[in-house]
């Protein structure tokens, strides 16, 4: 079977073409760039909300895109179990649209931060992490001004194993120094109860080719390989 993934292009998205490049040329799966007003869920097996500054992040990061008709379409996918991955601004959109709990606040440094960091896998039982092992430490870059994860329901998140990634040092230790934005409990990515929707601040599409990685790793590829394998098994 051929599977089809959509990357939704919101006005102001800027990692949309990067995600398309990785999926089409590195992973080798048919992926379409779809303008947010034109997105129709029925044509796709999975969807990616890319990074960027949708609608300029005016008002609040992700809030305007959360009201795009694309999210109504995605809501149908959410209900029937198709995978939805939000990267950076996509994560912000998913929390604003209440696909995922919590919120992403301004970094504690009050500055935008772009750098390669490490995250540790907390839950490999999701469509996006099945090719990883719990405790794996991944090399991946971040680039955001509003990535400080906050929730007033941390306990529930922990009990339901919805925390998928935490910022760690390269040995997998959760230190304050390894936390680049002041996120609660070093949280870097979470999923919904049903596991088919995940958001994270780091950029797997920037970590999928050895040439772009300072340590020549390709840990970002695991996200997309997992997603593709999940879709194949599902059908």
């Amino acid at each position: 079977m051929t599977i089809k993934i959509a990357v939704v292009q919101f006005p102001g998205a800027n990692c949309d073409l990067d995600a398309i490049h990785v999926l089409n040329n590195v992973i080798g799966v048919e992926t379409s760039l779809v303008w947010h007003n034109h997105f129709k869920e029925a044509e796709f097996d999975g969807v990616i909300l890319p990074g960027g500054f949708s609608f300029g992040d005016y008002l609040r990061a992700g809030i305007i895109a959360a009201h795009s008709p694309a999210l109504d379409e995605a809501r149908i996918m959410l209900k029937d179990g198709r995978p939805i991955l939000g990267i950076c601004n996509g994560f912000q959109i998913l929390t604003e649209a209440e696909f995922l709990p919590g919120a992403l606040l301004q970094n504690d440094s009050l500055k935008f931060v772009c750098k390669w960091i490490n995250i540790r896998v907390e839950n490999n039982n999701t469509p996006f992490t099945r090719k990883m092992k719990n405790g794996d430490v991944l090399d991946i870059p971040i680039a955001h001004g509003e990535g400080r994860y906050f929730t007033d329901n941390l306990k529930e998140l922990e009990e339901n194993q919805q925390i998928v990634f935490k910022y760690s040092d390269e040995n997998g230790k959760y230190t304050q120094k390894a936390n680049p934005n002041g996120s609660m409990e070093n949280i870097a990515g979470i999923c919904n109860l049903e596991r088919n929707c995940m958001g994270l601040m780091p950029h797997p599409e920037r970590a999928s080719e050895a040439i772009l990685s300072p340590k020549c790793t390709t840990h970002g590829k695991l996200f997309f390989d997992s997603m593709v394998e999940f879709i194949k098994r599902r059908s």
Partner: protein, 748 residues
């Protein structure tokens, strides 16, 4: 400011009286207020280059002399053919005056303007670089404020548009305190076909003229003439002349423009910058040999009641003018509607060679298309400043403390320390092209997806050297910036420059400009580097202190690396490998960081450039690259070669055992040997087994390639062979000093 009488009204303009007279004679009538405003803007120094043009002619004709140059000076951006059907466009520009008044929006709109320049060559902007100059940060809240908000302005704008900021350069010097220098550079990549599709001219009568993007407001009116006057206290009152940027709209303009160009229906393209719509229309029709009829009230305005003068001269950001084939009009409008970009068909081109602008039924502008571009030339006087002889003869005092302490102090100085505080705020990864990232090389290296080619780019100059000797200093800047891309394995392909100088009406200031241009022109001719564009910013001086900024002929180099295996990076790789220095160290401490940091003196003998020697070193290095003998490379810059060696040790926590015996052939005093800033030197890491062959090659090229020592696992640098003492430096301590200077000053 002269006053002129037109149609009975007395108006203040920046035009000179002979210029106004010329206009009246040419038109055979008094110009309307709007027309006068258009001339006033278009003939300002900023738009017309009236003082600089005679000197810029010294650069050889790039399009004529280099077959790979597709567009040279005078266009919105320089364009080169890099093979395999790809074109690179790039340009550098200043946004000094607006940034000195309002750093956040001044810097942001600088980025906006340079992106448009590159975009209107028909290619996608893929990288930004920012050379910046401020007053020293220490104990200086004003400099800190400017620095913080310029960086934030660049970050917020660049990050939002999805164009990575891959490099930059910062100098801190007292002369920039009242007038910071904010230069912005952009690189675009596209197919040669796309570049040829949409030139910046309207050469076909009957095409539609569409204005697309942001609305036209009252901001930035006369921003151009504002940049051609010296800053005064009154400039604070000029704040409305600084435009407000909107990076989200810019991002949409980029996407809509690229999609429009791909249709093949766009016949001409021009961004609206200085001088607004009046400038864009006169250049489009003037260069294309056509005329146009414009219905001014079709232009969408931000506020009601704007006069024709305000609409025609507004410099509101984020606007593009499209010249569209009649049969493609509907298709282009459809694209703009998809992106929800405001747009209006404002007129059509014709063969009248006259630009006619109607305000409803009233003809408010009727000018020959080429009249505005026929600006006068002014031959300025040059005079070497009298103080220079005294400065150059300044002697280096005896070292005030032991050499270790001096090195620790130097590496922590603002001009040498790590600039991570800046580049962490820039998204330098977006676009999935960044291969050599900020902090790991002398230049930024991007892959060109779909090929095995890589582009390397760097920016900079040394204003302290230029201050003492602009001819040699400008050449030295070129050596340094070319050295940056060479250190990463790239051959320099083309250069653009941004000349930041004082008031050209002051002969001493103009002397600096003229000699910097001479230096750049001579060097580029000798080393076969085409100059494909430039920008001149005069009047960079502080009215209060009556001093001009130090001369800053900022250079941008773009180079190409063929093959991933030929990319070289800065950090030392393996203990046991050799450390070599390429090039000799001369008694050239003039304008050095050592002089300025330790003794607060600006003088001394500045570095000289010997093109033949530089060329030999470059050829030698490229032969070593071909033989895959270089493991790491870093050019020697501010602070001298020990600073470079330390920087190379940081990443992999290595150290070095060095012996300087036999390197000091000029018999220099220890501090002169260590801290001289002789240009064109490199530190390379090589395998000991290759040393004999390297020695033979060095002789063949007649190049100094001296083995200084070996890399060790222990993070310390031990130096023997000096006259006064042996040195032991702790790498961890150096790294700590290097990293903490700017955060300690800024994050409080």
């Amino acid at each position: 400011m002269p006053k002129v009488k037109v149609n009975g009204d007395e108006l203040k303009v920046d035009l000179t009286e002979p210029e106004v007279k010329w206009i009246k004679n040419t038109l055979e009538r008094d110009p309307s207020i709007t027309e006068l405003g258009m001339f006033d803007v278009m003939w300002s120094e900023h738009c017309s280059y009236k003082s600089s043009r005679p000197k810029l002619k010294l650069f050889e004709d790039a399009e004529k002399n280099y077959d790979y140059v597709l567009a040279g000076p005078g266009q919105d951006a320089g364009v080169i053919d890099i093979g395999e059907g790809y074109a690179l466009a790039f340009r550098i520009e200043s946004h000094n005056h607006p940034s000195a008044i309002e750093p956040y929006h001044g810097a942001a709109t600088g980025i906006g303007g340079i992106i448009r320049d590159v975009l209107c060559m028909g290619v996608r902007p893929i990288a930004l670089l920012d050379p910046l100059r401020f007053g020293p940060l220490k104990n200086n809240p004003h400099s800190q404020w400017l620095f913080k908000y310029v960086v934030k302005g660049i970050a917020d704008y660049g990050n939002c548009t999805g164009i990575p900021t891959i490099g930059g350069e910062v100098e801190f010097d007292k002369s920039f305190e009242g007038n910071c220098l904010v230069n912005v550079a952009c690189i675009g990549l596209g197919s040669i076909e796309d570049f040829r599709h949409a030139p910046s001219r309207a050469s076909n009568p009957g095409d539609y003229i569409i204005l697309m993007g942001g609305s036209t407001g009252r901001d930035g009116i006369h921003g151009v003439t504002f940049a051609s006057r010296t800053l005064t206290d009154m400039s604070e009152a000029d704040r409305p002349a600084v435009q407000i940027g909107d990076p989200f709209t810019k991002k949409m303009i980029i996407e809509a423009t690229i999609e429009a160009i791909k249709t093949g229906y766009v016949r001409g393209l021009k961004d609206l910058g200085g001088g607004g719509i009046s400038c864009a229309l006169s250049e489009l029709t003037g260069d294309g040999g056509t005329g146009a009829k414009i219905k001014m009230r079709k232009i969408f305005t931000r506020e009601p009641g704007m006069t024709s003068y305000e609409i025609m001269l507004s410099e509101s950001q984020e606007r593009m003018a499209f010249i569209v084939k009649p049969e493609g009009l509907e298709k282009i409008l459809e694209i703009f509607r998809k992106f929800e970009m405001a747009h209006a068909v404002i007129g059509r081109t014709d063969d009248s060679k006259v630009l006619k602008i109607y305000d409803s039924d009233n003809l408010v502008v009727s000018l020959p298309s080429i009249a505005l571009s026929e600006s006068p030339i002014i031959d300025r006087d040059e005079k070497r400043p009298g103080i220079l002889d005294g400065l150059i003869s300044q002697k280096t005092p005896e070292p005030s403390s032991n050499l270790e302490e001096l090195i620790y102090k130097l590496i922590a100085s603002e001009n040498i320390c790590s600039k991570e505080w800046i580049y962490r705020q820039y998204d330098h990864e977006v676009g999935v092209r960044s291969v050599v990232k900020c902090g790991t090389g002398d230049s930024g290296v991007l892959r060109i997806i779909g090929t095995n080619k890589f582009l390397a780019s760097s920016v900079g100059t040394n204003s302290k050297h230029c201050f003492l000797e602009p001819y040699e200093g400008a050449k030295g800047g070129l050596v340094e910036v070319c050295g940056n891309v060479i250190a990463n394995g790239a051959r320099p392909k083309a250069m653009v420059n941004c000349c930041n100088f004082g008031n050209p009406e002051v002969p001493e200031s103009f002397w600096y400009f003229a000699n910097s241009v001479r230096g750049m022109a001579d060097f580029c001719k000798e080393l076969r580097i085409p100059v494909v564009g430039g920008n001149v910013s005069f009047y960079n001086e502080d009215e209060v202190s009556k001093t001009a900024v130090k001369p800053a002929p900022v250079i941008m180099i773009v180079g190409i690396i063929d093959g991933v295996e030929n990319i070289i990076t800065l950090p030392f790789k393996n203990a046991g490998n050799d450390v070599l220095i390429i090039g000799e160290t001369n008694n050239e401490l003039g304008g050095s960081e050592y002089h300025s940091v330790m003794y607060d003196i600006e003088g001394g003998i500045p570095p000289k450039v010997d093109e033949k020697k530089i060329k030999a070193r470059w050829d030698f290095i490229f032969e070593l690259y071909e033989k895959i003998m270089i493991k790491a490379n870093h050019d020697v810059n501010k602070g001298g070669f020990i600073i470079s060696i330390a920087e190379m040790c940081f990443k992999n926590n290595l150290g070095a055992d060095l012996d300087l015996n036999g390197y000091n052939n000029k018999n220099l005093r220890d501090d002169k040997l260590l801290f001289s800033e002789s240009v064109g030197r490199f530190i390379i890491e090589t395998d000991p087994k290759d040393f004999e062959e390297i020695k033979v090659l060095a002789e063949k090229y007649n190049v100094t390639a001296k083995k200084l020592g070996v890399l060790i696992k222990k993070p310390e640098i031990n130096i023997k062979g000096l006259k006064s003492q042996d040195i032991k430096l702790d790498i961890d301590k150096m790294k700590d000093l290097y990293d903490s200077t700017i955060p300690n000053l800024m994050d409080i």
